[in-house]
Symmetry: C2
Subunit: 345 residues, 2 copies
């Protein structure tokens, strides 16, 4: 194992150039960078603290913390893979590598991130699955680790964040259903403390209010964010004496289980119950009738997150002068047939 000095000697290149090549600086030509990386790998280079400690953060790695739980395992949710593709591309502009930090459901997210931060595995972090009260925010602020959140919290949220436009989705979904005569509209939200459940519920209630409607508390259905959760939503609705005529889902995988449960009961989505799904996923096209849902580019969201994060990092902030962002990510309606029915008024 060699330090940077011996690596420079071996290559007959200046220490400064070797350092810039290793740290992905743009002023090193591609051929030199390849030579340096090749030699570093072959000779077993170990980063020298003298270089590392000059300023905070020189791993050139950006962490993307995701939670892995029974649901993400059993499910087939392509959300993170799509976002990762966008993130990777945008970070590579600056020779930064994305590393995904999977936090198991068995571990407290705060304690997990605390260990990652203490070990200095990454220069900056993207957190996701924000909770209503999310102690990770305070941790990252106190440790002066640049970060952006995918998702709002219940707090003031002065830090950089991007979140899906749950309000826009709730308003558009409710407006469509009301226009077709629905007054008994239910909403399905996660049964966890993830903040998006609160945001979507509040947006839904607000959307109903705009049309002079109030929500029956039993129509706010909590379920797991999974196909199975959708099945239990079906159970809940079928068990009601006074059933809703429509339901708005906050998670696309729920639609699959809900369709299945309705089919088992001899009911047809879009005829016996209007359904508006959430994000258009690869499954949507295989559902019959086609699911009314909302489209977004996961890759663009990844690029947006990367740029928002870079704006918070001292070394890159100049290149992203718009600065730390607070952004609601728009989603575009995809009309299907799952909410086609019209209710007699």
């Amino acid at each position: 194992m060699k330090g940077i000095k011996r690596l420079a000697q071996h290559l007959d290149i200046s220490i400064g150039t070797v350092s810039r090549a290793l740290n992905g600086k743009p002023d090193v030509n591609e051929e030199t960078r390849k030579r340096v990386l090749d030699a570093a790998a072959k000779l077993g280079y170990a980063p020298n603290q003298a270089g590392r400690s000059l300023r905070r953060g020189t791993t050139n790695a950006i962490g993307f913390m995701i939670e892995t739980n029974e649901e993400t395992e059993a499910n087939s949710d392509n959300f993170f893979l799509g976002v990762i593709a966008g993130l990777t591309g945008a970070l590579l502009r600056h020779n930064l590598d994305l590393v995904v930090l999977p936090c198991s459901v068995n571990e407290d997210p705060h304690d997990y991130l605390q260990r990652i931060v203490a070990r200095r595995l990454v220069d900056a972090v993207i957190i996701s699955a924000t909770q209503r009260e999310d102690r990770r925010i305070d941790l990252l602020k106190a440790a002066h680790v640049p970060f952006i959140a995918l998702g709002r919290t219940g707090g003031p949220d002065e830090h950089a964040w991007i979140d899906l436009d749950f309000e826009g989705v709730a308003h558009e979904a409710v407006a469509r259903l009301v226009a077709r005569g629905h007054k008994q509209i239910a909403v399905a939200i996660p049964d966890t403390d993830i903040n998006l459940g609160y945001v979507f519920r509040d947006a839904f209630i607000d959307a109903l209010a705009r049309h002079g409607l109030t929500v029956d508390p039993s129509f706010i259905i909590r379920a797991r964010s999974s196909e199975h959760g959708g099945y239990t939503i079906g159970n809940a609705i079928l068990a009601m004496e006074d059933r809703p005529t429509a339901v708005v889902l906050v998670y696309e995988m729920m639609a699959i289980g809900l369709y299945r449960r309705l089919n088992e009961a001899g009911l047809t989505p879009g005829q016996d119950l209007a359904i508006v799904g959430f994000r258009e996923g690869p499954q949507s096209q295989f559902l019959s009738p086609a699911l009314t849902c909302f489209r977004m580019s996961l890759r663009d969201l990844g690029i947006g997150l990367a740029e928002g994060l870079l704006a918070t990092m001292p070394d890159y902030a100049d290149l992203y002068p718009a600065g730390p962002m607070h952004k609601l990510w728009p989603m575009e309606l995809v009309e299907g047939e799952s909410d086609g029915m019209v209710i007699d008024r």
Copy 2:
């Protein structure tokens, strides 16, 4: 930002204890570890090279390199999330964190890994999607980075690896189909240079030979490993003058597109064409007729990979005395109705 010495002073704990706590050694009690990690995060601790360079590899991070491409993004493949869950749990026994290293399809996997190795982001690596000739193996050997491969290569493969039992699947699938009178059996494999395509093709030909059958070269169908790939397999089969009566798929998502193409042509899986899928996935249960496929525990595979990797790491090898492994991971038949038809002999 503090070094380890100032961190120890602040906590009034010995430098050795702080170091062991930061490096996840088991001989530090939980309360002390929490105090140390808490202080390291709050005070902005930076690892001291004096400690880091004592021996190779003290990031306490294990890398899991996966390839992200158009297919993994557009698809809904839960394979990696399941494996990650198993890996994370097994590595946490030793206070090691898993970081996922997503290599974009736009980058050469060897060059990507070379950069990761040069930057010493991780202590050891799990590689996946092994190619027939995989230069990453030589790179990791030359750099003395402990590793295990998920997947064989076309080479001698003396290093540690775990691969799915493609041979077992091919033999069981062919035996089932032959027992039902099929002689015209096709196989679908990826259209890339990933090694599993070669392994599965060879196992398939070998399985046919055991029953005295030979393969029609046009029955070896190459397609993308995706739902869309399954659709093109359907196109290919429908265009044949002398069609196969059965097809064995190497990727479960292919079944979805193939079902769709057959349905569009007015044909029924399991009646007009026998289909044996590959791995049982969340989608399988939503296919009608139910897909005959093979079951495995992704979590157990993740645990197996972690243990196989730990056996190659000097610090942990003693705890995993079985040593580096070469293992074919078994898969268990799940009988569906997609291969129910019997051919008149």
